[in-house]
């Protein structure tokens, strides 16, 4: 999915005001946040796979590594879904946002107990992205 092709994340194709036209467009922070979540989750999946196969990870072949592989992959899918769910479907969006938060927290705790520092860091980044996405209900303009 190309983020660049998306309309503003609130879905409203409001006409640009004169003021808007006068200033260069600033990033849609909600899209930025979701992108951070998606990228963090995808990178987390890759790290989990590496942990699962690497003898130096301490969790090679462990069930816990499979768990975080799955949970980070699911998080990436949730982030992707949030790009596509129209804003009118508020309940669904809210549920998916909540599920993503639970996924981030659960995966982060699991990564902490797996002592996978890289995964903990990536999930912390994903959490920051989630916060940005939630805090930015509409595109922010200077």
């Amino acid at each position: 999915m190309s983020i660049a092709m998306q309309t503003p994340a609130d879905g409203r194709n409001r006409p640009k005001s004169l003021d808007d036209q006068a200033k260069p467009a600033l990033p849609d922070w909600r899209l930025v946040g979701l992108t951070v979540v998606a990228v963090g989750a995808a990178a987390g999946t890759v790290v989990s796979i590496v942990d699962y196969v690497s003898p130096s990870s301490g969790i090679k072949g462990a069930e816990g590594a499979i768990l975080v592989m799955a949970s980070t992959a699911i998080l990436a899918l949730l982030a992707a879904a949030l790009f596509r769910i129209p804003p009118q479907r508020r309940i669904l969006r809210g549920l998916v946002f909540a599920a993503a938060l639970l996924d981030i927290i659960g995966s982060g705790v699991a990564a902490y107990f797996l002592e996978s520092n890289a995964l903990v860091a990536l999930l912390a980044i994903a959490l920051v992205g989630w916060l940005i996405a939630v805090a930015s209900r509409r595109p922010v303009h200077a």
Binding site: G58, I59, A62, E63, G64, A65, L67, A110, F113, L114
Partner: protein, 655 residues
């Protein structure tokens, strides 16, 4: 004789003395750089005088080299190559491996035995293979449930004759009861040892010979002699081979003497009380100290009441004859499989203005026995305290048991109690089960209803024993806090349980020939979580001059499904520590597959590194070409975790 001649002679004498002193000091330094015995030295001190790696720089340790022997099996699949020679087509699963070898560094070579009963000679600074020797022994778990090996032994002639083979030798034992001697330089069998390089130990297995005398622990070598114990099949038979210990000629393999821990008139009714762990020797006194295990059947003694005084003892033998110098029984009428399981550490203790030649013996029951090693009497008092009676028909538990208040036992007197988290997660399973079990403190005998046993056979201190810093007389030991359930079963009930699928894995052991079988399980909830409160493993230091505990810390981490549990929980441990003169403790042993360096003064972990499997072995500390190495065999043990490996890894400071 003129004055000048006298002067010259004096100068020559002084120079000679100086040269001798230098040679002596160099010799001492050279000895200090090796790790020639299973426990580092004959005294089982597990102490290295090396000081290059210090508490200040230990954080910089890096992998100097790592290698894999190829001799590993997880028990789930056929192992091609070595194992396949015994199993045509290689279709049979190989038993799992348990590798607890201490690497030996001597003769400028690192020597290791493997659980496939091969010897590896490695370059000490690179890990490159110099040579290997294959005993071509049966790769079958004939006595133990897994393929086990604790390494090799080394001997060299007092006067090495150049060009003659086998002036230096490496010995390895096998599960099928053979002892091999190999030239340490070439890896070729020593033809003059036994039958073309091998002695069949089982030819001396003449009483209750139900299984071979497996040689898993290498012999201890002293004065051209090898002192050799053996391991058997645990908990299988009431009548088993009696606990024999053999002294062999290091050159020929001829038997010099045999010590038997069980009197001939008692032997038909019992067995074992063997020496399966390592031993130590006092070269000044020519005494061999042997840890004697418990007699069979391990959990019912109705047929052997007071009949095996050497059972579960520490016993001193004269090396020349095998005669007993003294013996001290550590558990009377053992009903818990409290084998004396490690070599006593020999150290001189400065106490109350006197220097006492002492030994320190750790134990499964969690006591640390400090004895005068010349006579076997306690340095710190050992009290006979009343012990709970048995209610099993035919059994009569000992009315008292030796109790050691000082040094403080490594495990508490009372079991830790139900862990609320484990209980909650299992919806009360732990507390319900605990209420049903019999428990009256230490030494509660096994019962038909089920006995909560603490400490138990996998608790206290295992065969790694402790280490000592002889200068500060600080003794360090790791230990496990484990609760097990011992339930005797009448023969009819046992047979019924077996026919309903009761397996060894589920804890069923027959003790054939006795009225009872046993079900022995670790007290876990259905999720596999220990029902008792952590910590599960600790490491502690003691001042032997006073008997005081200096510090005690949780040690290692529990790992389940990859998740590491909190540090405060510690880990069950197998394997032991070593100490260096710079004030460091090096130890693997924990189930999290990590090796650690610990500050001897404080117990703080200063460094840790991940290895391929739990390093259930003693590390070797040695120096080669000016660089200090700490080498571990990371082999794993199924008691801790299914993770096994064949890795040898050496750590050193960056060049």
């Amino acid at each position: 004789m003129t004055g000048s001649t006298v002067m010259n002679l004096s100068r020559i004498t002084v120079r000679l003395l100086a040269a001798l002193a230098l040679a002596s000091s160099l010799g001492a330094a050279s000895r200090g750089q090796t790790w020639q015995e299973f426990n580092g030295d004959l005294q089982a001190r597990k102490y290295s005088p090396l000081t290059q790696i210090t508490p200040a720089n230990v954080k910089e340790l890096e992998v100097a080299w790592s290698m894999h022997t190829g001799d590993v099996s997880d028990g789930n699949r056929p192992v091609p190559g070595t194992y396949a020679r015994d199993m045509p087509g290689g279709s049979e699963k190989a038993p799992a491996t348990v590798w607890s070898a201490t690497p030996l560094f001597v003769n400028d070579t690192l020597y290791l035995g493997t659980p496939f009963y091969r010897i590896f000679a490695l370059e000490p600074d690179t890990g490159k293979v110099k040579w290997t020797f294959d005993t071509k022994s049966k790769i079958e778990a004939l006595t133990q449930p897994e393929l086990k090996n604790r390494g090799v032994a080394y001997w060299q002639a007092d006067k090495v004759v150049a060009g003659q083979p086998c002036q230096k030798r490496v010995y390895i034992g096998t599960m099928d009861a053979r002892l091999f001697a190999v030239d340490a330089d070439t890896g070729k069998a020593c033809e003059d040892f036994g039958d073309h390089g091998v002695v069949d130990i089982n030819k001396w297995n003449t009483e209750n010979a139900k299984w071979p005398l497996s040689v898993l622990q290498p012999p201890i070598v002293y004065k051209d002699m090898l002192f050799l114990g053996w391991a058997g099949k645990d908990w299988e038979d009431a009548q088993a081979p009696p606990g024999t210990l053999f002294a062999l000629d290091a050159r020929t393999g001829a038997r010099r003497w045999t010590f038997n821990a069980i009197a001939p008139d008692v032997a038909p009714r019992t067995g074992t009380s063997n020496v399966w762990a390592s031993m130590s020797i006092d070269p000044q006194r020519d005494l061999l100290y042997i840890p004697v295990s418990s007699p069979s059947p391990n959990f019912y003694g109705g047929e052997r009441k007071n009949a095996v005084p050497y059972g579960t003892s520490i016993t001193a033998l004269h090396v020349a004859t095998g005669e007993v110098a003294w013996s001290r029984q550590l558990v009377h009428h053992d009903l818990w499989d409290f084998d004396t399981n490690s070599a006593p550490t020999l150290v001189d203790i400065d106490k109350d203005g006197k220097t006492i030649p002492a030994l320190v013996e750790t134990s499964k029951q969690g006591f640390i026995y400090v004895l005068d090693r010349t006579i076997g009497e306690p340095v710190y008092p050992i009290e006979e305290r009343p012990a709970p009676p048995s209610d099993v028909p035919g059994e009569q538990a000992a009315p008292t048991q030796p109790y050691v208040p000082v040094p403080k036992p490594v495990v508490d007197d009372q079991w830790p109690g139900v862990y609320p988290l484990a209980d909650a997660l299992s919806l009360g399973y732990c507390s319900r089960t605990a209420k049903k079990l019999k428990y009256a403190g230490r030494f509660t005998p096994p019962s038909l209803a089920g006995t909560l046993t603490y400490p138990a056979t996998i608790g206290g201190t295992e065969w790694g024993g402790g280490a000592v810093d002889p200068r500060s007389q600080t003794f360090v030991v790791n230990s496990s806090s484990a609760v097990q359930i011992y339930q005797l079963m009448t023969r009819a009930d046992y047979d019924k349980a077996k026919s309903n699928g009761g397996t060894e894995t589920a804890g069923y052991f027959p003790m054939l020939g006795s009225p009872y079988g046993i079900k022995l399980t670790t007290f876990l909830n259905p999720l596999g979580m220990p029902c008792w409160k952590p910590p599960y493993g600790t490491i502690a230091a003691y001042d032997l001059k006073t008997g005081n505990q200096l510090w005690k810390e949780p040690f290692g981490e529990v790992q389940k499904w990859g998740f590491y549990m909190p540090d405060a929980w510690g880990s069950i441990t197998i394997g032991g520590p070593v100490i260096t003169a710079s004030g460091l403790i090096f130890i693997g042993a924990s189930m999290d597959s990590r090796v650690r360096a610990i500050d001897l003064k404080t117990g703080a972990v200063l460094w840790k590194a991940l290895v391929a499997a739990p390093a259930v072995s003693l590390p070797a500390v040695y120096s080669y070409k000016g660089r200090e190495y700490v080498a571990f065999a990371a082999g794993g043990n199924s008691i801790l975790t299914p993770r096994v490996s064949d890795q040898v890894v050496a750590f050193a400071l960056p060049r």
